[in-house]
Symmetry: C2
């Protein structure tokens, strides 16, 4: 298996509060080609740090991919450092220069000296065209001082550009590399669960951990639940696939309908698919989640097929006016109660004329909790034309975490209903 | 200035689609102590890779901080590898064992051998208690084979645990280290802009780039706008502060009210602050943003002081029913139009009885665009008791990016109104 390292370049990724997410996408794409990312490094725009990171990477990886630092501004240092480390000159690439000039002309912007620097490419490098931005990427083969052959690919920073360049050029460049170096295979599969603690899943899966010699089971707890990963390494593709399938079957037996998705599927994606398949429409009434459920349900292209409306209600008056929640019920039980959640789900469904209604009411904190109704207490409910049901949860964590978990619990209730399973 | 490196440990951070965001928080906290994070490395749960990353880090950083891999499951390898690299034994820490036992008892869960491993700490290490989880962290001083003194801090992976442990123990441990090694200072300040392209900002700030010898200005474009960072390094604290203030003033002169926030402030945070200060309430009507504006406005603790309700309307009928948008207007102009945006803002304000109303209508794509109304066309509007105004935007990017930018544009309109500036 070819070992790769990704170096993300940009001071904002170190200290500016910007998370590096492109490398996750890149790692997935490389894995599809049989190239395994074993390290990621993040460095600032300091040329010495970039140089050190590049040299370190060449010590441990056959393929090094950098992102960022190719733009026209003065803190874009990548091409200079690469030229120094690999001992190449920077040469002006005519086609790239023409492309940049044309791009700027179309936007009625002047060509400047800074823009020109983006057409400088290390000698003997392949240019990787950038269909959605000015700075192209490049790819070169490099023999280190220790006479080891390495490949280096430099890509611009913006996600949208990387995502266009990968299918349109990068895959073709990397395929030969992946072919020659592959000495086995690595398959990873992720199953996503909601409703059980990490420790509970650990206990349920305990006897599976050692059962398959070549499979490793990993758990990762997050706001959306616990993901279970199966990794099989160093086997021929067919037998690795068979092992993954076997382990997946065993995990499904142990976790049942707590598993809501696989791979990069999301809860909202699964729910959307089921709603479309059954041609059912839904409306949502939210308090503590503040629009998060509506936002997730409408993040899917084509969501108007099943989503009708979402109401975010922060006042009792709005619950009475827009959902017909009885005033007396709000006074007797309080806005955060099982009864009000059910009335909200019923009300939003009826007023919207949709097949289904979903509702959430709870206390996201940090203030507003009492001894009887602490921060983290959340009621989720849903209604169809005949009946309504609800569940209560007590989530821990900060405001954002509680809101995320509450939205996940509501969507999970909907998922279970749409799966045709009995809901207690 | 003490140089630090953060090593984030966990296969899910390499290939599982999980972005490492804790290191951003840690880097900010370390910088406050005068410790600069120069590198971040991400490695999987492979003991050899962790060992290699640790040894590399000791070559280039005086302080190494690891996150993750301290839990009770079999893929938690950090403490074993640390013991090997630093040549220490793992010893059972009685107080930690007692704390874990008590924690599990409170949750009515059995103590297992796996749970016990979390009380194993390298000899001569300081234990850093974990008030919100089972696995504590630890801190040790380490002299490398090259006789260089280094500090190593190992923390658990979950964000919520790190965020509690930093103020409650980590700061005290690191302060002496920061004091002895400081040979200068580094100050970074971030100003956040919306409404100008990166290239436009670059052109406006061009003459500032070389004006201050010790200041570096960086630009970072993202979905929420373009962030401008000022970095001053290697000066005494007072003069560095003075330089940052000078450069900030110059940038503010050049970018004016396109700057909406500084540091880690968000647009919704700024808007919330202004709404609270002026004691104004707001309601929101959204189509293409699908609840994102409501979600952002309610992400701030105490948002019920200014937020009344949010309506996510995916059908024309809902716009007529809930916002009094005239049916004839929808037919004449179409749902995505300036006129409908204004009517929605007016309608939601009136029906909610709030001081202000905000509305968005647009085409987030990928489908639904026409030649006259392409994907990315968005109208944002707002209304007060006397008047209403709107703006049109044409955003590029995918569905998520368009939704984010549309929500940012709507909140920016609100911000400008609340700043008392004239809105064209």
């Amino acid at each position: 298996m070819v070992r790769a390292e990704i170096i993300a370049i940009g001071s904002e990724l170190l200290l500016g509060g910007v998370a590096d997410t492109d490398s996750l996408y890149l790692a997935d794409e490389l894995l599809k080609l049989g190239i395994e990312v074993r390290h990621k490094t993040v460095v600032g725009d300091d040329p010495k740090d970039i140089e050190g990171a590049l040299r370190h990477a060449f010590e441990r990886a056959a393929l090094v991919v950098t992102t960022g630092g190719l733009g026209p501004t003065q803190d874009d240092m990548t091409r200079k450092v690469v030229a120094r480390v690999t001992g190449r000159r920077l040469v002006l690439h005519d086609e790239t220069l023409a492309a940049i000039t044309q791009r700027l002309k179309a936007r009625q912007r002047p060509m400047t000296a800074e823009q020109t620097t983006q057409a400088l490419i290390p000698s003997r490098a392949h240019v990787i065209p950038n269909p959605v931005g000015t700075a192209p990427g490049f790819f070169l083969s490099y023999r280190t001082e220790r006479k080891e052959d390495h490949a280096l690919m430099c890509l611009p920073g913006p996600s949208s550009e990387i995502k266009r360049m990968v299918p349109e050029g990068i895959v073709a460049l990397l395929e030969p590399l992946a072919g020659t170096g592959a000495r086995g295979t690595l398959i990873r599969r992720r199953l996503r669960s909601f409703g059980l603690l990490e420790a509970e899943i650990d206990a349920r899966l305990k006897d599976l951990y050692g059962a398959e010699q070549h499979a490793v089971i990993g758990l990762q707890a997050g706001d959306w639940g616990v993901d279970v990963s199966i990794t099989v390494q160093g086997r021929k593709p067919e037998s690795a696939e068979a092992i993954v399938r076997r382990v997946e079957r065993a995990i499904r037996d142990h976790l049942g309908d707590h598993l809501y998705a696989a791979g990069s599927q999301t809860m909202e994606g699964v729910v959307a698919m089921k709603l479309k398949a059954k041609e059912l429409s839904v409306s949502v009434a939210e308090s503590c989640t503040g629009g998060l459920i509506a936002q997730r349900l409408t993040s899917i292209p084509g969501s108007s097929a099943y989503f009708n409306r979402g109401l975010v209600l922060y006042s009792d008056r709005a619950k009475v006016d827009l959902l017909n929640v009885p005033d007396s019920l709000l006074r007797a039980k309080g806005a955060v109660s099982n009864e009000v959640a059910l009335a909200m789900a019923d009300g939003v469904r009826e007023r919207s004329g949709t097949d289904l209604g979903v509702a959430v009411t709870g206390i996201a904190g940090p203030s507003g909790g009492t001894k009887e109704k602490p921060v983290g207490l959340v009621y989720v409910a849903m209604a169809d034309k005949r009946t309504a049901f609800s569940r209560s949860h007590l989530f821990s964590g900060d405001r954002e975490r509680i809101r995320r978990r509450a939205s996940q619990a509501a969507l999970d209730l909907l998922r279970r209903y749409l799966s045709g399973k009995a809901i207690e």
